[in-house]
């Protein structure tokens, strides 16, 4: 299996790098910007030659630039919110797993209770209540998506705690904070990297969902979600308005999922099909 997944993961990484580079460079090079309407250029179909390779939207704005801005927003929200959730999740899980006992019980019961809370409704309510605030989008998403990471990290920390080098360090009188920082957290890096890579697409999809519902970014700024929503309204006459942003959204998510899977598989020494027990 692992032999078969390597090239796939490599292609995913290359494609992702290409999209990121395009998202950074294209809006900067293009003569058009994402906001200014051009009333004489409405609904130009995509053409290879001519100024609009992706065509233009209902206000005559260049779709290529708007899609690239959408990629920027989606990736930015995805990475920032995932970092936040990883930060909370790792601290919470490592502390619970390392401390054990009553503190572990309290911390993990809290996670259990939070799991039962319907987060999508809460984020939607927050968005509606505080207006469409870009900062709030990713703080809200990051603050609610750390639960999985906390559970995974706790489990791994429990295993690390039983290792002999930890016992040796404890015998030498290393303090808890130093122990976590120097001996426990470095051993979690690979696992956390894999799950963070898998968390980013989840966050991107969530932001896109909010934008699709009209609760994400402010127009004229575009995210891939709001572009898909705009495209869906015009899809009968101008399907490219739906297909192009949807394609980029799917490609980004696909690449990140593929990479995360490959990272996780490479960390799992059991691999596929080897029994254990």
């Amino acid at each position: 299996m692992s032999r078969a997944t390597r090239p796939g993961a490599l292609i995913a990484a290359l494609l992702l790098a290409l999209i990121v580079a395009a998202a950074l460079v294209v809006p900067w090079l293009s003569p058009y910007d994402y906001a200014t309407p051009a009333w004489t250029e409405i609904f130009r179909s995509p053409t290879v030659s001519g100024g609009h390779p992706f065509g233009t939207d209902s206000l005559g704005r260049d779709l290529l630039v708007r899609v690239m801005w959408g990629c920027r927003i989606s990736l930015l929200v995805g990475i920032a919110a995932s970092l936040l959730s990883v930060l909370i999740g790792v601290c919470w899980g490592a502390l619970a797993g390392y401390a054990g006992g009553r503190l572990d019980g309290v911390l993990m019961r809290t996670v259990d209770v939070l799991y039962a809370i319907p987060f999508i409704p809460f984020v939607i309510v927050l968005e509606v209540a505080f207006g469409r605030n870009f900062l709030l989008v990713f703080v809200a998403i990051g603050a609610v998506s750390w639960l999985d990471i906390a559970r995974i990290v706790r489990g791994q920390t429990l295993a690390i705690r039983e290792q002999e080098y930890i016992e040796a360090a404890r015998a030498l009188g290393v303090r808890t904070t130093t122990m976590l920082r120097r001996h426990v957290l470095p051993n979690l890096v690979g696992l956390v990297a894999a799950y963070a890579t898998l968390a980013i697409p989840g966050v991107i999809l969530f932001e896109a969902l909010l934008s699709f519902l009209g609760l994400g970014v402010h127009p004229p700024l575009a995210s891939l979600g709001s572009l898909v929503a705009e495209g869906a309204n015009e899809m009968q006459a101008h399907p490219y308005l739906l297909v192009l942003p949807a394609g980029f959204l799917a490609a980004i998510i696909l690449c990140l999922n593929r990479l995360g899977d490959a990272l996780r598989e490479s960390l799992d020494p059991r691999g596929d099909g080897d029994g254990h027990d």
């Binding site: 299996m1 078969a4 209770v113 039962a116 809370i117 319907p118 999508i120 409704p121 809460f122 939607i124 309510v125 927050l126 509606v128 209540a129 505080f130 697409p201 999809l205 896109a208 969902l209 699709f212 519902l213 979600g225 898909v228 929503a229 495209g231 869906a232 899809m235 009968q236 399907p239 739906l242 297909v243 949807a246 959204l249 799917a250 998510i253 696909l254 999922n257 593929r258 899977d261 596929d272 099909g273 080897d274 029994g275 254990h276 027990d277």
Partner: protein, 308 residues
Amino acid sequence: MGAFLLRRLATAIPTLLLIATLAFMLLHLTPGGPFDSDKVLVPQIQHAIEARYHLDEPLWRQYLRYLGELAHGDFGPSFQYRNTSVNELIAQGLPVDAAIGGVAMLIAILCGGGAGLVAATRPGGWRDRLPMGMAMLGISIPVFVTAPLLILVFAMRLHWLPSGDWVAGSWRHLLLPALALALPHTAYIARIVRAAAIEALAQPYIRTAIAKGLPTHVIVLRHALRPTLVPLVSFLGPALAGVLTGSIVVEQVFGLPGIGRLFVTGALNRDYTVVTGITVLYGALIIGFNLLVDLCYAWLDPRVRARA
């Protein structure tokens, strides 16, 4: 088993209380009210409306009143639909979501489960890579992309099925939304079932079954299926709760009168009781389904039964 159920109920009630409190406070403490609108009302009328819904009382009193009603299973009156209770609104919306969600989950379990089992019998072969590649696509393409695309192809271009609206009992109106909702779930289930079945097939008792010369389908269906169902069941619990309370996107794209849309319009119009009611309903369903999941574990895995 009785003690187990009691213990779970004892944690369920504080959790529900917490959810209700969070939703209530969040809504009431945020700026804007249900009767703020562009047109200015005569102060007396504004006052009369607020008094009718007890919005003029102090917050703690409204809160206690709401909890009291909730304890009797009463979600209170809706603010945006006059003379309609939230219970009535949910009773109208729930059957729509239940029909679409039920069909979607049925499709997802049959197709996803089948694909996962087939993939697990020959890991690495084309029968594994093809369905798993499609599953990767399925979890990467969100519903708000597939739903418009399904409409574009099957309703607008081919004219096979209607593009939206809801006619109770009409399978033609149900098919496209259910399909859109089923796709990501199918992909998740295929991946979960494949991973679990590969693990199950590596167990020593399977080796014994192979050594006895049993055909593959008997080994998979009779011996490997049960342990494979354990992770599937833990996925299905929250997924069913989510599907039953409505997919906001599917309802929005197909124009269905379900609970998800009710929730979003409720949130936009500060319809406190609708939003809190649906949130509590969703929380209760999650807790209920997770309890069912745990009961299923005991049925599927004798070792869990022995420990309980």
